[in-house]
């Protein structure tokens, strides 16, 4: 039997391989004590080939030194599988006049290659425009996500040609107008099968590179209404958009930093939350007839805080989407965040204090995601405004604030920040959801407590292993790519949705899983989260559950689809109205 020794070696090799994979991610994970101390995220930024860093725009005008303290923005990230190879890619913005934006193509092995130049999407900055945000959205329903780069200046709409290249179609699309935009989301507010565009702008639409007036700063710290507000563009289904802000009922001129959509009352129409800096956030209910009604007063009340981020998620698994909003919390300004618990009647109650999620410093992006696959949405929040020298900028700003009769709108009254710090060097927070009641900060344990000036968070499963990874942008600094290396055997299931009657990316689609008496709701969002867009795949952590009793998909078209019971620990691709009952696990093309 000359082949026997070779076969034994082979068997031994296979056994070793199986054992190794079991250790890495298997049912036989470490004991509870070990798990408590383990780090479940690995910083793979450089190893993965993410080598860029962000550069804040420096202005060259009479107010440049003052603007420096209020424009440390533009470090954004947007995730989508632009080439439909089954692996999520990453678009990252930079902001200096000569800086390039980056399109990191996912090589499928947790390494990335910057293909922005080759794809034709690198040139987002020049003397008159500074990139500030990005959004993938399939505006023509061809299945390939197109790319919108919003800027302080004119936005750029890139049409995805489907061959790895993009074409600038801004002018033809009707989006070519000056906006000091910082955020865009896309969802189909009128359920006509095409996603529409909602753009949030910070400054009013004056040319901030060469302002003709010094009066372009916030007129108030608490009720400012002289910002850029929200612009609504309806998708005409022919590659063009029409500004429908006036008739949509979305009327706000606040200093908008973020927009987030979700169906608050489960009526099949997406509602909108607007986070405004220097003043009142807004909540708009979708009337279902192409218009919205401002329900701020009854839904959330009028706040005077500094709204930075909006994300929607059902953190307590009660079947209703809740909302997380970051504000400023520091020893000189104790605003506290909002965790708006959805009461089910288009009103919300802030339970951030009760849940321990109120203090995240000077908050920026905050994202719901289930990092340990236990079935409860956790929260990651980045923070920090300006980490400069040892001297604090707080006394300077308070000197201005307490000066009688000062005109805040006049930039000349604001003190330059120089090399001072303002809420700098703050530690990021990873809030673990403890069964929908309270959250416990686990950032330090998992190495996610960087003190860089964080801005955006993109959540995605870059290696399709069912464990959600993170991409974090930092102002004037390198980003982080954190790989989720969760070792436990917690189960999961995930879905890639494709609309047919609904918009192609199925933005707004909801999936409800039923396990025993518990229902889990997750949905496809069109770019929620400050300076970021996460995956539009739908991911569920299942904990110990290996069997799902029922799966229901509610498509934006109104169609409801009940799926057969599916094996867990796989991604599945679902196509609207596809009646196939033999649904097989999805695998990437490569």
């Amino acid at each position: 039997m000359p082949g026997q020794p070779f076969r034994s070696v082979l068997i031994l090799f296979i056994v070793l391989l199986v054992l190794e994979s079991g250790i890495a991610y298997g049912a036989a994970g470490p004991g509870p004590e070990d798990r408590q101390n383990q780090r479940w995220f690995e910083d793979v930024t450089h190893k993965a080939g993410i080598l860029s860093r962000h550069h804040t725009r420096r202005f060259n005008n009479p107010y440049a030194e003052i603007m420096q303290g209020y424009t440390k923005l533009g470090a954004a990230v947007a995730v989508a599988d632009f080439d439909r190879d089954g692996f999520e890619d990453i678009f990252v913005t930079d902001s200096c006049a000569t800086c390039k934006n980056h399109l990191y193509h996912n090589n499928g092995d947790f390494t990335f290659t910057d293909v922005a130049e080759k794809a034709g999407v690198a040139n987002g900055n020049d003397e008159e425009n500074a990139s500030s945000g990005a959004l993938w959205f399939d505006f023509n329903n061809d299945g390939f996500p197109d790319l919108l780069v919003v800027r302080f200046g004119h936005p750029i709409l890139y049409l995805n040609l489907g061959n790895g290249k993009f074409r600038d179609v801004t002018k033809a699309s009707g989006l070519d107008r000056y906006m000091n935009a910082i955020k865009a989301i896309a969802f189909d507010y009128d359920n006509d099968g095409y996603v529409d565009l909602f753009i949030g702008s910070y400054f009013q639409p004056i040319n901030i590179f060469h302002p003709g007036t010094p009066r372009f700063f916030p007129e108030s710290f608490e009720t400012a209404k002289n910002g850029g507000g929200v612009t609504v563009f309806h998708n005409n289904k022919d590659g063009t958009f029409t500004d429908v802000t006036e008739i949509s009922g979305i009327h706000t001129t606040g200093w908008t930093l973020d927009l987030g959509h979700g169906d608050a009352n489960n009526d099949g129409f997406e509602d909108l939350y607007v986070a405004n800096d220097f003043g009142t956030d807004r909540f708009y209910v979708n009337n279902g007839n192409g218009t919205f009604t401002d329900k701020t007063e009854s839904a959330i009340g009028f706040d005077t805080k500094k709204g930075m981020n909006v994300d929607w998620g059902d953190f307590d698994n009660d079947g209703l989407l809740d909302i997380y909003v970051t504000n400023i919390t520091d020893d000189y300004m104790r605003e506290g965040n909002f965790l708006w618990h959805n009461n089910g009647n288009l009103t919300f109650t802030d339970i951030s204090r009760e849940t321990g999620t109120d203090d995240t410093g000077w908050g920026w992006a905050g994202k719901f995601f289930d990092y340990d696959n236990d079935g409860w949405l956790d929260l990651y929040v980045v923070n920090g405004w300006v980490s400069g020298g040892k001297e604090s900028y707080v006394p300077d700003i308070f000197e201005m604030v307490t000066r009688p009769g000062v005109d805040f709108a006049d930039a000349r009254n604001w003190p330059p920040i120089g090399n001072k710090s303002l809420s700098g060097y703050q530690k990021k927070r990873l809030f673990h959801n403890e069964n929908g009641h309270i959250f416990k900060d686990e950032a330090a344990r998992h190495g996610l407590d960087s003190t860089k000036d964080g801005r955006g968070i993109a959540v995605a499963d870059f290696d399709n292993d069912g464990r959600l990874d993170l991409f974090v942008t930092n102002a004037d600094d390198e980003p982080f790519l954190y790989r989720n290396i969760l070792p436990t055997g917690a189960h999961w299931i995930g879905f890639l949705l494709e609309g047919s009657k609904s918009n192609s990316a199925a933005v707004g689609a909801q999936i409800r899983l039923k396990i025993g008496k518990q229902t889990y709701l997750r949905y496809v969002n069109g770019g929620n989260g400050f300076a970021s867009q996460s995956t539009n795949r739908v991911h569920f952590g299942l904990g110990k559950n290996t069997r799902i009793d029922a799966i229901e998909v509610r498509w934006p078209s109104g169609m409801k689809q009940n799926l057969p019971v599916l094996p867990v620990d796989h991604w599945y691709k679902l196509v609207e109205a596809d009646t196939t009952t033999n649904i097989q696990p999805w695998e990437p093309k490569r």
Binding site: F221, E222, T223, T304, K305, I328, D330, D331, Y332, M333, R334, E335, G336, S392, V394, P395, F398, V401, T402
Partner: protein, 255 residues
């Protein structure tokens, strides 16, 4: 010429009469206000209390009760406007300045974060005027505590400690009052805010000798680290209402 002393006497008598009748009117207004408050008729109560305070601006009780009624009615701007006028009419009344300062403080919990700063700053100015006009335990204690609310970056804890030490001196020179325990707590907190935990503990210990049943002092002396920090900072949370009711002053005093 013989009539001159007589006329002087008459003038003095007249002025005393005016003063007395004003005080009496104030007292009668105050009684009406108490009745209205009992009926939760805040509009009437505030009207009578304003009349009472206006007639007797140095009356600590009237002004304090007025502000407490304002807190219940939530009409903070009315109170600020009232005291602003009263300060103009009585610029030398320490009590009016003190209560004007408290009126700013009373509004802080319902204000936005930046307005809170402006209100706190305005309050501090009024408290300073009160100290300058009349050095008293309440004036020093109030301004001292007010300094301690400011974030560390402003370096005002040292001013707070200095004022609270003055308050301590004043209280030690007279009969002991139950509210004097607050000075021990505040002064200790001030030292803690200046990172002098040893001095803070010694002040709290001294306080506990004087007031052995005080739970706040006991808590500070039994806690350490984050727990102690949380206890102290809970007392300086601008979103929580500061107790500016001065009833302790007359409830526990012979004055």
């Amino acid at each position: 010429m013989n009539r001159k002393p007589y006329s002087h006497f008459l003038v003095v008598l007249f002025l005393m009469g005016v003063l007395f009748s004003a005080v009496r009117a104030s007292d009668s207004d105050y009684q009406e206000a108490v009745k209205a408050l009992g009926a939760k008729d805040y509009a009437t109560a505030l009207r009578y209390l304003e009349s009472a305070v206006g007639g007797d601006p140095d009356n600590v009780r009237y002004a304090s009760d007025y502000r407490q009624a304002v807190i219940r009615s939530k009409d903070f701007d009315r109170s600020l406007q009232f005291f602003e006028k009263l300060v103009s009419a009585h610029p030398d009344s320490a009590n009016v300045h003190l209560n004007f300062g408290f009126a700013y403080v009373d509004k802080i919990p319902v204000a936005g974060s930046i307005t809170q700063v402006i209100l706190a700053n305005n309050a501090l100015k009024e408290f300073t005027k009160a100290v300058e006009l009349k050095e008293s335990w309440i004036a020093y204690y109030t301004r001292g505590m007010s300094y301690l609310f400011w974030p560390k970056v402003f370096g005002r804890a040292a001013f707070g400690v200095a004022d609270l030490k003055k308050a301590m001196e004043i209280q030690k020179s007279g009969p002991r009052r139950p509210y004097h325990v607050k000075t021990y707590i505040g002064l200790g907190d001030g030292y803690w805010k200046m990172d002098d935990s040893e001095k803070a503990r010694s002040i709290w210990q001294e306080g506990l000798k004087e007031f052995p049943d005080n739970a706040n002092l006991k808590a500070r002396l039994t806690q350490q680290g984050d727990q102690l920090k949380a206890t102290i900072e809970a007392g300086f949370d601008p979103s929580k209402r500061v107790d500016t009711d001065l009833r302790d002053l007359w409830a526990n005093s012979n004055n």
